[in-house]
């Protein structure tokens, strides 16, 4: 088993992590151009504006990829799965996280609709509590994978 490091956040990203500790999944929204942004940055890489607000993400997306790592994770076991999820909100935002499923990745497919979930884990040598993302298979919803949510 390996110790899970506590993330080294920065001045751009710390509000995102703080929101996650409240079980809120947020993105930046550029004020002039409305483009969504993640990971957190001080300026828009499209229009260049530094005016933005945090907005709640829809929390739905589709599996873009996943890996099955063949060594014990923090919880033990022989393997663990990490998924990369493409958000329905904007198709160039890909967010990693755990997947609520078997540790060998059985049942995962590219394009599988998922929705956001949260997981409380221990991180760092002092075992601090940390909330991380745990994506789960989406309940049936209209529009299908890839549909854009406002």
């Amino acid at each position: 088993m390996s110790t899970r490091p506590y993330p080294v956040t920065d001045l751009d990203s710390s509000p995102w992590w703080e929101a996650l500790q409240r079980r809120e999944f947020v993105l930046q929204s550029c004020a002039p151009c409305r483009r969504l942004r993640w990971p957190a940055r001080a300026m828009c890489n499209d229009c260049g504006s530094d005016e933005w607000t945090w907005v709640s993400a829809s929390g739905v997306g589709a599996v873009a990829s996943w890996t099955v790592t063949h060594r014990p994770g923090p919880a033990g076991g022989e393997t663990f799965v990490v998924v990369l999820v493409r958000l329905d909100d904007q198709d160039d935002i890909l967010v990693p996280g755990y997947f609520d499923g078997p540790p060998d990745g059985a049942g995962l497919t590219i394009g599988l609709p998922v929705e956001v979930g949260f997981d409380e884990v221990e991180a760092g040598d002092d075992g601090r509590r940390l909330t991380v993302l745990r994506w789960r298979r989406a309940a049936l919803r209209g529009g299908g994978p890839g549909s854009v949510r406002e």
């Binding site: 990971p39 890489n45 996943w66 904007q90």
Partner: protein
């Protein structure tokens, strides 16, 4: 395919600088010496190859990731009295062409006359790259992967590999053919760490590291150094070896796997860069005789065959199945065995092999009549940067 001539890139330095010598240390699991000693040994070997001595050196350039000697110490150890050029590039495989490019510019502009370029690492006994991505100092975005214990190079490239394989119907056997072909090349290379030929059963039976990547999809981790001597082409003609000119370099990239920068992470920085490289070189992919493609992991080979225009997007699997990339094929790749089988010196051993091929010094693995070669950096898939060089045997 890439159309040449549509991009207007002036290149006043085309073929102005040359690689006059190459040097390697032994590849080992434990060098037992410092990265300073490794660097000096490789540099001395490269100077001897060129017919020069350390007294001729007036410039130094290297790349490193907090894992290797300060180039100022190398200059001091070489006894350079008046150091005229230094370039200390931060970066691993993504940045391996940058020091060479800097050296070429330095000699072409007259800043220096003889620049030694190296990469030295105790990558097995010291700082292992497989774990270096876990270092938050190396990337602010590591924070989004580390809590899932998903920051190692095999994991990050596995995430890319599944997307890429899915998009183009690339199979495990296609990746296996890359590993098998490169091992066959390494069998003809006395320097290679892994020389025993492998079969598809060996490949498919090798243990999973991070699915979809197996052990035999992954490069070696070793201690080694490689060095090059860069001087003006005019001067190189008077030296011991057939000069290999630096025809063109190019750089690109900027995307990360998880960032709002591009919706398709399977399109790498190299895809956008390659047309600029060919325009700067004044030639196209059909004129490349061999390609040393950065291969930390097997999927980077088909990706680059497409990015550099050797086939259309999605057709690399077919090209590999046809045997095109083996010695004797239309485009032999990684003729030394690559990072998968020769060893891992972060792209610089690829440049060294390209030079030896263009000098026709490769013995059993020689590509007959090789005149033009491509050598590449990591194509900018996960970490954002890339680069490449086109080299020519001097006429």
């Amino acid at each position: 395919m890439i159309a040449v001539g549509e991009i207007d890139i002036g290149n006043t330095q085309r073929d102005a600088a040359a690689i006059a010598g190459v040097g390697h240390t032994e590849y080992s699991k434990n060098s037992g010496v410092t990265t300073l000693t490794l660097a000096i040994r490789a540099v001395q070997a490269a100077l001897a190859d060129a017919g020069l001595s350390q007294h001729d050196v007036d410039g130094v350039a290297c790349h490193r990731v907090g894992d290797s000697v300060d180039p100022a110490l190398v200059a001091q150890a070489l006894g350079v009295r008046d150091l005229r050029f230094v370039r200390d590039v931060f970066g691993g495989g993504s940045s391996c062409i940058a020091p060479l490019d800097a050296a070429a510019t330095a000699v072409a502009t007259g800043q220096a006359r003889c620049v030694v370029v190296w990469r030295a690492l105790n990558g097995r006994s010291g700082v292992q790259m497989a774990g270096a991505a876990s270092n938050p100092a190396l990337s602010a975005d590591a924070q989004y992967w580390l809590p899932y214990l998903h920051a190692s190079a095999p994991q990050q490239f596995a995430m890319f590999a599944r997307m890429y394989m899915h998009k183009h119907g690339l199979t495990a056997e296609d990746l296996g053919r890359v590993a098998i072909a490169q091992r066959a090349h390494a069998a003809l290379n006395p320097r290679a760490m892994m020389r025993r030929p492998i079969t598809m059963d060996d490949y498919l039976g090798s243990r999973w590291i991070a699915e979809p990547l197996r052990l035999l999809d992954c490069c070696q981790q070793n201690d080694a150094a490689v060095a090059l001597v860069v001087t003006s082409t005019a001067r190189a003609r008077d030296l011991r070896r057939t000069p290999v000119t630096i025809t063109a370099t190019a750089f690109g990239g900027g995307g990360q796997l998880a960032s709002n920068h591009r919706s398709d992470p399977t399109v790498s920085g190299a895809h956008a860069m390659a047309p600029r490289l060919y325009a700067a070189a004044g030639l196209g992919p059909d004129e490349i005789d061999l390609a040393e493609l950065y291969d930390a992991f097997t999927p980077l080979v088909p990706l680059q065959l497409e990015a550099y225009g050797f086939c259309k997007r999605g057709e690399a699997g077919h090209m590999i199945r046809e045997g095109a990339v083996r010695l004797g094929g239309v485009l032999p790749i990684n003729t030394h065995g690559g990072h998968l089988s020769e060893g891992y010196v972060h792209g610089l051993n690829h440049v060294a092999e390209a030079v030896l091929q263009l000098r026709h010094d490769c013995g059993e693995r020689q590509v007959p009549g090789a005149e033009v070669a491509l050598s590449t950096a990591q194509p900018g898939v996960n970490s954002g940067l890339t680069g490449a060089v086109i080299l020519k045997r001097a006429a």
